[in-house]
């Protein structure tokens, strides 16, 4: 049950937009100025200590779990070391932009302007820009790909939360002492400084709580504040014992990860596993479950409070303040035993009751070990319409973990980061930000022999005039182009990989990633036990459909000539609505269980897999293929001309990753799912993401079980992931007109949920236009 106090706190934090503060940016600037010449890792640690020691802290009146990034709820720091230019250029518009609005005071602006000169030639973005080739930069500005690590920290991992909950930070400091080597002295010093900094940070909160307790007149609140002070004096320095201690310890460390670096998708991972002992401890001592549930709800609201600012372009691809804190429940434990427990159910209920987009809740489904009751409980949460939880398939993902080289226990213990990315638990730097490649754009470049008709730019890499080619030759030319841009993207990411490692290592994070303390270097320098990088392919369904239509009309039936097609694409089908409709309506489409098109997709996935796996990152980990979009499909669409699947220029590209093009999957959910599993989920090792849309009246009590069975069969067939959007189109249309009526209307984008009214119009439309799966498929 959600208490009145939680409801009040929720209403409060939803009542104002987040605000940008200059503290962190100023403190790190001063610190960097004093530490010039020191090894990067030490400079980072010293700066982290200064930030945690000096940044404003805050305890809200209604809070029982405390810790905020700035001196105000929903406050948001600035990270000048990654990119300061966009902050300066865009800060005047932050409060007025369409999506992801942030308040920012004139004073904050002035403080940020003051430090800007120092950073101009020192940021990751600046350094990267110097090292990228013209071709790499042109490809990025034509939106052939996005290099996501340009302006932001890396984030995207699951630390070993159990380590400090069980041993305390002091326990880890012992380990640091034991493992210290002279060769890597700077690293061990940096970790020690960082770990002591978090303990001091907790003491600051304890002191603030004590101070507030002294002047508090309400006896109940006074006692609460004293208890908060007691807890923060104890954790995270020492092992947690009670659930409240564990939650507070968890939160303070999780929060601090976001003060060290600006990466998002710092994911809590298997929360229902490592928090269970504390939950049970309290239950056994007679603490009412309602009290534990309220503690959990306080934490859920904290997850929602975390925020980061992104540049305007990024808010198109990552709109709606997403932080992608993936929290996953269920599945099996390391030894293969069923892992779902009472806390897993409380997490599902928390998201159902609080109904805010963070944390990104997920479940692991294990056909042999999970109970049907668990899946039905998950669907009860799906029913509220926020698109959570996402569902992940143990069968395929554990197998994929083994393929990636994890041992059996580690594979069983897999977790999810961000949207839907499969990773190890606290033992890997998975670098899930290798980039998003716009495969539809590459098809366009093949059609026009390296010419980008949207940007009106000729690229140097050419595969010849496609007009004279056979189908085989055209398909081969497309693959050649694809291999080239994939390489270009990867080489660009390699530059960023080296820069982040050398300029912005994360000693604090690394203390909680297995392998780093042994190797004597941070996760961003290759210290983790495992390393990998994923590369995301976007608009693959549009490309499959385009290739199929070209094969049919241009090459097999020869009813449309290549030049006719090319002209129509160049003119955006001006006066050729007949040809556009023919391409769209009369050629088989991916998502309808038709091998003639699905197997082109399989071949493409096999090819991409082979190409991506050729590359190794500077950290020594392999590149991995992924099929998920976030909302990059919406951004890419704005730069991609008409495509041979009958899609008009700048019209939306397929969402999700393996979801069919909008409205093209017409034969019902089973046909779609059968198509999806043909795209070899065992080769898409990074993640393959499927959005499925249902209407609310579809997920009735009577049908819930059928939907559960639908998921089970899909997973038996090897599907990796599925998530549901359940909404009534009329409601979303109304929310576009009257946003003020729907402040907390939640929808699923790709691997994350957002408040509908906080996202860009184009992304809103994208969500509305996705195929709604109806009984019996679409009617003619």
């Amino acid at each position: 049950m959600m208490t009145e106090r939680i409801r009040k706190l929720k209403d409060f934090i939803c009542s104002f937009p987040p605000e940008v503060f200059a503290d962190r940016a100023e403190i790190i600037t001063e610190s960097y100025q004093r530490t010039e010449g020191m090894p990067s890792v030490l400079r980072r640690a010293v700066a982290f200590r200064e930030i945690l020691g000096k940044t404003d802290i805050h305890i809200g009146d209604l809070e029982r779990v405390v810790g905020s990034l700035c001196g105000k709820a929903r406050g948001c720091p600035v990270y000048p070391e990654y990119d300061m230019t966009f902050v300066i250029n865009e800060m005047d518009g932050l409060a007025d932009r369409n999506t992801d609005r942030f308040l920012i005071s004139e004073e904050t602006k002035a403080r940020l302007r003051a430090i800007y000169p120092y950073w101009q030639d020192k940021t990751i973005a600046y350094r990267a820009f110097l090292r990228l080739s013209d071709e790499q930069k042109d490809a990025a500005s034509s939106l052939v790909y996005i290099l996501t690590a340009m302006r932001s920290g890396i984030g995207h991992l699951v630390i070993d939360y159990r380590s400090f909950l069980e041993r305390g930070i002091l326990g880890i400091l012992e380990e640091v002492k034991e493992k210290r080597t002279e060769e890597h002295a700077a690293y061990y010093d940096a970790v020690e400084i960082s770990l002591r900094a978090i303990c001091a940070y907790a003491e600051r909160y304890a002191a603030l709580a004590r101070e507030k307790a002294e002047t508090e007149e309400n006896e109940e609140r006074k006692a609460e504040l004293s208890e908060i002070a007691r807890i923060l004096h104890k954790v995270p320095a020492r092992p947690a014992e009670t659930f409240a201690e564990a939650v507070q310890s968890f939160w303070l460390v999780h929060l601090a990860l976001h003060l060290e670096a600006s990466g998002h998708s710092m994911s809590p991972g298997r929360f229902d596993q490592y928090m269970l002992p504390y939950f049970k401890h309290d239950l056994e001592r007679g603490v009412p479950v309602e009290e534990l549930e309220e503690t959990l709800h306080f934490l859920w609201l904290k997850f929602f409070e975390l925020n980061k600012i992104r540049d305007k372009v990024s808010t198109i691809a990552f709109g709606g303040y997403p932080m992608f804190q993936n929290l996953i429940v269920g599945g099996i434990d390391e030894d293969g035993n069923p892992a779902e427990n009472e806390l897993s159910y409380l997490c599902l209920a928390a998201t159902r009751q609080i109904a805010l987009p963070q944390p990104s809740l997920s479940i692991r489904w294990n056909e042999e070990k999970s109970s049907k009751r668990f899946l039905l409980a998950a669907l009860d949460t799906v029913r509220i319409g926020g698109g959570m939880p996402a569902m992940f398939n143990d069968k395929t993902l554990i197998a994929n973990m083994r393929t990636m080289g994890y041992d059996e226990k580690e594979a069983n213990d897999y977790t999810i980061v961000g949207c839907s990315e499969t990773t190890g638990n606290g033992n890997v730097e998975p670098w899930l930000t290798g980039g998003f490649l716009n495969v539809a754009k590459v098809l366009e470049l093949t059609l026009f022999d390296g010419y980008d008709p949207v940007a009106k730019r000729q690229f140097p890499f050419r595969t010849g005039d496609a007009e004279t080619m056979t189908w085989e030759a055209f398909y081969a030319a497309f693959k050649t182009q694809l291999a080239h841009y994939l390489m270009l993207n990867i080489k660009g990411d390699d530059v960023l990989d080296e820069l982040h490692g050398s300029l912005c290592p994360t000693p604090f994070v690394s203390a909680f990633i297995r392998g780093c303390l042994d190797a004597g270097k941070t996760n961003l320098e290759g210290g983790a036990k495992y390393n990998s990088t994923t590369l995301q392919m976007v608009a693959v369904p549009n490309v499959i459909d385009s290739l199929r239509a070209m094969k049919k009309f241009v090459y097999d039936e020869k009813t449309v000539s290549f030049s006719e097609l090319k002209d129509a694409l160049l003119s955006n089908f001006e006066g050729r609505e007949d040809l556009r409709s023919l391409l769209k309506n009369k050629s088989p489409k991916y998502g309808n269980d038709d091998d003639s098109v699905d197997l082109i997709g399989r071949d493409l996935v096999d090819f991409l897999y082979g190409e991506v796996e050729k590359y190794t990152s500077p950290r020594g980990g392999k590149y991995r293929l992924a099929l998920y979009t976030i909302a990059s499909n919406v951004l890419f669409a704005k730069y991609t001309g008409a495509t041979p699947d009958g899609r008009k220029a700048f019209d939306n590209l397929a969402d999700g990753g393996v979801s069919a093009g909008h409205g093209r999957d017409q034969l019902g959910a089973t046909a779609l799912l059968n198509s999806v599993v043909k795209l070899t989920p065992t080769k898409v090792l990074g993640s393959s993401l499927l959005n499925l849309r249902l209407t609310p009246n579809f997920l009735t009590d009577e049908n819930k079980e059928k939907i559960a069975d639908l998921v089970r069969t899909y997973f038996k067939h090897g599907g990796q992931h599925i998530q549901f959007n359940v909404f009534d189109e009329a409601v979303l249309r109304d929310a576009q007109i009257h946003p003020e009526k729907y402040p907390t209307l939640m929808v699923r984008v790709a691997g994350f949920s957002v408040l509908f009214t906080t996202i860009e119009r184009a992304l809103q439309d994208d969500i509305i236009r996705r195929t709604c799966q109806e009984s019996g498929g679409k009617k003619w």
Binding site: D578, R580, L582
Partner: protein, 302 residues
Amino acid sequence: MVKTTALIFDVQRFCLFDGDGIRTTVFFKGCPMRCAWCCNPESQSFSSELMIKPAGACADCRKCLSACPQGALSLSEQGVSADPDKCVFCGRCETLCPFDRIREAGKPYTVDELTELILKDRDYYEDSRGGVTLSGGEVTAQADFVLALIERLKREKINVMIETCGFADPAVFARIAGMVDRVYFDVKLLDEAEHIRYTGQSNKPILENLRTAAKLTETVVRVPLIPGVNMTGAFAADLAALLAPLPVAAVELLPYHRLGVGKYRELGRPYALADTPLASREENLAFLEALKKQTDKPVRFR
């Protein structure tokens, strides 16, 4: 001699409302009855028919006119229309219409072809305890084929249900009913004269077949509630009396809707109940309550 193909006007996968679990529903074309409220008019005729979207929806590209080898298509202010005497259902116009405005309702399928299509979702049936529902049109009207299909599906251990209007030769009906896992059996009117008036056929074989179905397999009675036709206290009472001695599993009431009206236009046919209003929620509920009071069978809306 078994006819090798049946005329099918639709195969819908992922059906959640035609029986247990996830199902594929196969719609057989052709029906001996002509119910005035029929929402699938393309299901009635035993031959293929062209369905053409009316003017306005058509982009006037005339590709279909020039493509038709029989010269069966013509264009007027009302849009494209087909001369049923000339059309041989070659499918060329459907293939060529870029805008998806022409559809040939009714395509021949062999048992093998249908089985292959049905088995694509086999695992979904197994996990959800679903299967196949044979519907129409009237499924029993293509009896030889249907028997062969059911036999084949049963060999594949697929759960099979049928939806029937019940108007069939009793011997044929008994053979089919005896092979399937459930029968959804329509009861529309009980007064013989009214029945003939609104459906074009006698009620007698239907009532006999209902008894047969109830004896041979699980039978669910379905009643479309048509305002001005059968939403009366007298019909509810007669229905309850009819069902009293029969081992019927449940009664499902289908409130009247007008979703099929557009299809009449596409077929160039008038809709007999053009002036019939939708019943209110309260009126539908009142019928349900009235029936519930008089029968021990479960009664629900579908």
